[in-house]
């Protein structure tokens, strides 16, 4: 269940649906945790590809 929460958090972050304080906290987490940073980068790439695909 933790992974699904983390993914939801990443999606909320990428879609700009976080409050300022939460966003700051999450960005600090990204800075200090390379694994989470990598997940964000990867998921952003994936969502961009999905959007491109959706636009066809």
């Amino acid at each position: 269940m933790e992974d699904i929460l983390l993914l939801n958090t990443i999606e909320r972050y990428l879609e700009g649906r976080m409050l300022e304080e939460e966003r700051k906290f999450f960005e600090e987490l990204r800075t200090s945790n390379p694994a989470i940073d990598q997940m964000v980068v990867e998921h952003k790439l994936f969502l961009n590809q999905m959007d491109e695909y959706a636009g066809c």
Binding site: D3, I4, L7, E42, H43, F46, L47, Q49, M50, E52, Y53, A54, C56
Partner: protein, 201 residues
């Protein structure tokens, strides 16, 4: 690879962008179907003549023109886009380059008949082809997911439906169960996608 380009006269075709054409491209970027129609009317016959003159058919010309329209649309949509040539020159150059590539793949040759001057578009073609390849990876990854994963993810990420709507549509008893399933499907899709995407990079 520069051999398709004439060594002289390239720069002369790079005229400054026409303001009317800028407006037309802006409309195209905003999915205005009239803009697409205008560009088609003003350019298709030129492309058709070139392809018919060089061992191609009407259907092949339509295919190639369609590819060029997508490339032009993508270019018009990008924020950094600046029109440095006429649309006609750009469309012709893309079609010409794509067609010469296609002929090469088919082991056919060109008759060397040119009806227009071309500008170098190698970089744009490369971007266009990379994009096509990436879309192909996503398409194959989605297809091999199977149902209901494919439809579920498409409903969420492409049709942008809410999890409540999706739960209802797919018959889940509540949105949390649908979310759970969506998560599992997503992990599978990402695994499939990235196993191919990395190879292509």
């Amino acid at each position: 690879l520069g051999y398709f380009y004439p060594s002289t006269g390239i720069k002369s075709t790079q005229v400054k962008g026409d303001p009317n054409e800028q407006v037309l491209l802006k409309a195209l970027a905003n999915n205005d179907s009239k803009a697409a129609e205008t560009i088609y009317k003003e350019n298709f016959n030129m492309v058709l003549a070139f392809i018919l003159n060089n061992n191609g058919s009407y259907d092949e010309a339509r295919d190639i023109f369609q590819e060029a329209m997508i490339a032009l649309y993508q270019k018009a949509k990008s924020e950094s886009f600046v029109l440095t040539s006429q649309i006609k020159t750009y469309v012709y150059s893309i079609c010409r380059r794509l067609w010469l590539k296609r002929l090469q793949q088919l082991g056919k040759t060109t008759n060397g008949i040119e009806n227009f001057e071309a500008i170098p578009v190698e970089d744009d073609i490369e971007i266009h082809e990379r994009r096509n390849a990436e879309l192909g990876i996503m398409d194959r990854a989605l297809s091999s997911l199977g149902e209901p994963c494919k439809s579920l993810l498409e409903a969420f990420y492409i049709e942008k439906q809410s999890m409540d709507q999706i739960a209802l549509l797919f018959g889940y008893t509540n949105a949390d169960n649908a979310k759970n399933q969506k998560y599992k499907c997503l992990m599978r899709l990402k695994k499939l996608f990235f196993s191919q995407y990395n190879i292509g990079e």
